[in-house]
Symmetry: C2
Subunit: 154 residues, 2 copies
């Protein structure tokens, strides 16, 4: 097997390994590596971007494995999928409660460390619906695009 310490410091993985195991999933160097990539640059990359970054230090890794790893990380609740527009799904390793800000102009995504709790929202769901969590996406303009819009407005 591939030396796993080549890819991620042991300590960072404790939580990950525990969660994978707890979900009946196996701990593999690829899964650790994909998770580390997400943690290193928390910029909500697509599967393709993760693949490119992963290959840098693990050239043998395949796209299918990247998807498999991302799915495993989502299943064991170490990563969230983020779907904001018609483009590819993005992946977010920030599991603290937060919302996403999506710039409708340039497509960049930012974490906003604030959420709507089910209590706060007081959603009245019809009978039978079971609420698990609320996913809040803020649309607007990022500072860059906002500045550009202001410029062209004069």
């Amino acid at each position: 097997m591939v030396s796993r310490t080549k890819y991620a410091p042991i300590e960072q993985d404790e939580q990950l390994n525990k969660r994978l195991t707890h979900s009946g999933l196996r701990v593999t160097p690829q899964r650790q590596h994909v998770h580390e990539i997400l943690m290193t640059k928390m910029d909500h990359p697509t599967a393709d971007q993760v693949f490119l970054r992963a290959k840098e230090s693990m050239p043998e890794i395949s796209m299918a494995t990247v998807y498999n790893c991302l799915d495993a990380l989502v299943k064991c609740e170490m990563v969230k999928q983020v779907n904001l527009d018609r483009g590819a799904t993005r992946y977010c390793p920030n599991m603290k409660p937060h919302s996403h800000f999506y710039c409708d102009e340039c497509g960049s995504v930012y974490d906003i460390l604030q959420t709507i709790s089910p209590d706060q929202a007081k959603f009245k769901l019809p009978r039978g619906f079971k609420l698990q969590n609320i996913d809040t996406n803020i649309h607007g303009l990022c500072p860059d695009c906002s500045a550009k819009a202001k410029q062209s407005a004069n």
Copy 2:
């Protein structure tokens, strides 16, 4: 040209025609037809599902045109795109403020006639961010899947 009244009652289209024109887009039978399909069964269909339904009474319509029409409807703000999972984008013609309930089990989508207003949310965005709207997606189990889950739990 194709008889347009074959596809949608005139009255329903007033608003649509006004909006298309106002956005510098043209009124075409295809756009009216696609809009009517969305209004008839507000079940958040994918582009592919819209295509299949559209063909029933307009057999010549093409997939490219369906995408074009959906884009036009989104641009003139008669329809919203809904992205909830890795699958295809869905389309929603309900322009009243509302949220979406997504069943994580079966993937069905329901409108919830309630939203989080920017005021209510009190989002503190970092300097420079311009908030345009908040998009709230409630994840959980629909009544059917919730009932099934309860059954298998005993």
